[in-house]
Amino acid sequence: MIALSQAYTPGLKRKEATLIRKTRMLPIPGKIIVGVGDTVSKDTVVAKAETLGEPEIVKVCAILGIDPDQIEKHMVKQEGDGVSEGEAIACYRALFGLIKSDCFSPIDGTIESFSSITGQAIIRSHPKPIDIDAYIPGKVVRIIQDEGVIIETYAAFIQGAFGIGGENHGEIKMASETPSDVLTADRITPDCKGKVLVGGSMVTAEALKKSLEVGARGILVGGIMDEDLTDFLGYRIGVAITGHEKTGLTLVATEGFGRMNMLEKTFRILQRNEGRTACINGATQIRAGVIRPEVIIPIPSPGDASAAPALAEEELSGGMEAGTFVRIIQEPYFGQVGYICSLPPELQHVETESTVRIVEVELENGERVKVPRANVEIIEE
């Protein structure tokens, strides 16, 4: 039996209620401090590790005014010795102590090495602790020895197209009435503090700034203009690797760039969950191993939820077939959604004169359109 691969079809998930699993990994091996079956809150520390401290290179011989090959006899601390900030690590004495100079440690740490070629010593600061929290409330279902845990929860789950800012939490608050509203600054009020705000088709730069000012945690919106994003960040994003921005506000654009109505159903899911806590992450990475921004809203679990198959983060979309719900991701129908009517096997010409395999989609308004197969993404529900 020859193993077969599965074709990757781009897709974004949108689940009203599903059992979801999140893997929480340490960047380096460490200690897991929860057990299988434990119930955790979003803030529970589940794993700990210690990273190597920062190195400090000290120019010992330059400071003492000696040749590098003299370093060994002037070091008062040896490799492996602990040192405190301001403590002498090497000294030079001549003429019965009349000429003297000392070299002090600039940090607390340990002497890692010194060299008779470079005349330098390396001092390593104390290790730094790393704590990994649960991010979502739920139950620990698996321990990955020394590396991390998997947490399971019942939740509404929405993947966005693009986002900025890292993991964040807040109560969902509707800041617009319809999926087509523009989220402007006047809609951001002091009671938005600590909240994850839901906009409609777009958020302005001013609204983003005001949200930050009042202490909102996140913005969930259909689209964003590039110029507003650049204005808010203060720089233009180059490649789509985000999540590290230190703005304090996490943004998830569910549809893309430009003014784009949030899909009606996505909007309704958020509306129904107003008042609940959302766990959101704007991190986006569009390379092999795609990471999309996400919204996880833990909801009460029905009795039989644990019997349902859990949605793993890396799970791939299934293939396209008649009836599959898709979003078109290129002009002239960019952003429109509909159901696949047919997948003709033969190659067809498109306006550019390219010959491609196409898919026929019935849009929500009943119109049937043909688009290249590469230009649709599956919306998994």
Partner: protein, 611 residues
């Protein structure tokens, strides 16, 4: 290698790309020549949940099986050598999956050993994530932070000439050791470090690093200031790539057993074919691989080969980095219709977030082609920065005459008038609906001067042929000439700037076609035109440039040349260098529309929109 061309009849080659695995089948025909037969493609399976590249290879090869009826796969992989009509005689592969070979390089002086190290790493097919030097303007802690953050697949350390001081290279070694970088493929993997510096530093380096790295010591990259010695370091990089990097990538252990030929990094193999092109015609060659994530530029000039990779200039994943680097104004200047710059930016952002989407409308095709021109321009600018004479060299015997020459030791040695070939490969160029579109993108991106032949890879098989050429050079060359190289034609473009306010004749050209027909053209400033001349046809041309314009024989001097045709023909380009594009929107649209119409580059209905 036991294989001999005469005994072989079927060769399979794959390229495991970052998104797609591309299989190509080659056959030895009854006419006693090697030819390309068919392609099969499938998504690459390096990432979770598959984490085994051989699955993608199986699927791509499986497509070839379906199309040909041949049986090439067994449970154990590719059937080789052939038996009972099944399998192939040889299987070779390249790889750039998972981001290719990512390296950090370090040297002592930025413009000397560090620059040499960077050139060598690039020439070996790596993506250079950063180049560190003791004088790079960063403080030690910043260098340490940077090395830690990068997580390379391999480090190349150079520094010092043989017999010189070892102190500075040891200081750089201390910085690298202190950073203690984590390999991209995980902590359990021993990070390879190639040391190619001062020969006297070998023992101290070995003692200092201990077992911190998988250390490979080779000859000095710069044994003397006046000499660059790239070979040993390049070979060591390839060896470490196979032994340490590839063997740890998902599924590669299995893939390495399927082929007895070492797996090459894709750009390394691609570069080999551009070198092959230069050897074949004994001429200077420029080449470009315009990909979704990166732009690779290759030059073979007076037998000197240089490759550069612009890691964040590409047409899908990296499209917005092209925007960031060049600015929206430089992109819009190539668009022949009215559109708000903000709208263009949003469309490019959406392409970035959905990189696999392809243009369906002519509008979007033209926007992508505008970005491609800028990606090529920026990639070439980067290339020229490394295609420089060795710096730090004492120039002996420089007289007053040299001082008046334009040539400077801070400028590239690439003289566009002496570049005879410009070749392109990569999805956007290969898939352009009309070949003339890729010809024009290459001309505009590189601003070729003089008489330049244009070519492109037919269906993306240059990497395949590159790795094949390491064991079957004759087969690789035959396929390259007959099936890979699409001759687009020849561009004749005088060097010199035009006066946009005054229309004047820039050059007159007399073309004598193979059947003896004479065509005479007087080219006015700011115009472009194509004269049909088919592939493998040669015409004699006499080019008379106007005063101040140069086509290779000196300003104002006539040039007689035999030029080759192609699918586009002879392109007469009198738009000046650099190509002048009006700033006024209406004038720009009119000018671009005129150029595109003159070459029949895009459907008329689109050009009618422009005017």
């Amino acid at each position: 290698m036991s294989h001999q061309g005469e005994e072989m009849s079927l060769i399979l080659a794959t390229d495991v790309g970052s998104t797609t695995t591309k299989a190509r089948l080659f056959r030895y025909t009854e006419d006693s020549e090697w030819r390309y037969v068919i392609s099969g493609e499938a998504p690459t399976t390096v990432e979770a949940p598959f984490e085994d590249v051989t699955l993608g290879v199986r699927n791509a090869v499986g497509e070839i099986e379906e199309l040909t009826g041949l049986r090439l796969l067994s449970e154990n992989g590719i059937i080789t050598p052939r038996r009972n009509g099944d399998g192939v005689d040889l299987y070779v592969t390249t790889s750039s999956a998972g981001g290719g070979l990512q390296m950090t390089v370090a040297g002592v002086i930025s413009t000397m050993t560090a620059e040499s190290a960077e050139r060598v790493a690039l020439g070996a097919g790596a993506i250079v994530m950063d180049t560190l030097a003791t004088d790079d303007g960063r403080r030690v802690f910043e260098q340490i932070e940077r090395i830690r953050y990068l997580r390379p697949d391999m480090i190349l350390l150079a520094g010092g000439t043989d017999g010189g001081t070892i102190r500075h290279v040891m200081k750089m070694a201390e910085v690298i050791s202190s950073a203690n970088p984590t390999p991209r493929l995980g902590r359990q993997f021993e990070l390879p470090l190639v040391f190619a510096g001062n020969v006297d530093a070998r023992d101290p380096i070995t003692n200092f690093f201990g077992d911190q790295f998988a250390l490979e010591i080779v000859e000095n990259i710069r044994p003397e200031l006046e000499m660059e010695n790239p070979g040993p370091a390049r070979d060591a990089i390839h060896k470490c790539f196979m032994e340490h990097v590839m063997s740890h990538a998902p599924g590669y252990g299995k893939l390495m057993k399927w082929t007895e030929v070492p797996i090459m990094p894709t750009p390394g193999a691609e570069g080999m074919m551009f070198q092959q092109l230069s050897r074949l015609y004994k001429e200077n060659v420029l080449g470009v691989g315009l990909g979704g994530a990166t732009t690779n530029v290759y030059s073979v000039f007076d037998d000197r080969f240089v490759r550069t990779v612009s890691a964040n200039l590409g047409m899908s994943y990296s499209i917005c980095n092209v925007l960031k680097e060049t600015g929206i104004g430089n992109i819009v200047r190539w668009i022949p219709f009215k559109i708000e710059p903000a709208e263009v930016v949003n469309r490019l952002r959406n392409k970035m977030t959905r990189p696999t989407a392809i243009p369906q409308t002519l509008e979007n095709l033209l926007i992508e082609h505008a970005v491609a021109r800028e990606a090529l321009r920026l990639g070439f600018a980067h290339h020229k920065f490394l295609a420089m004479p060795l710096r730090g060299v004492q120039v002996k015997g420089r007289d007053i005459g040299d001082m008046f020459k334009q040539f400077s030791f801070e400028e590239t040695y690439l003289d566009m008038l002496r570049i005879s070939w410009l070749g392109g490969t990569g999805g956007l160029l290969s898939h352009a609906p009309r070949r003339v579109q890729s010809a024009l993108m290459l001309i505009d991106g590189f601003q070729v001067e003089g008489v330049t032949r244009l070519a492109q890879d037919s269906v993306f098989m240059m990497p395949h042929l590159g790795v094949l050429s390491t064991v079957q050079p004759k087969a690789a060359l035959e396929i390259f000439e007959k099936d890979c190289l699409v001759r687009l034609g020849t561009c004749i473009a005088p060097r010199g700037s035009i006066d946009p306010m005054r229309e004047s004749a820039i050059m007159s050209v007399k073309i004598t076609t193979p059947d003896g027909t004479e065509i005479e053209e007087e080219m006015l400033s700011g115009t472009i035109k194509a004269i049909p001349l088919g592939e493998h046809q040669t015409a004699e041309v006499e080019i008379k440039p106007a005063r101040g314009f140069d086509v290779g024989a000196g300003p104002g001097h006539s040039l007689m040349e035999s030029v080759e045709g192609g699918v586009v023909g002879i392109i007469l380009d009198a738009r000046g260098r650099p190509v002048h594009i009006p700033e006024d929107e209406d004038a720009r649209i009119e000018k671009l529309t005129g150029w595109f119409r003159a070459l029949d580059a895009y459907p008329e209905k689109m050009l009618e929109r422009g005017g």
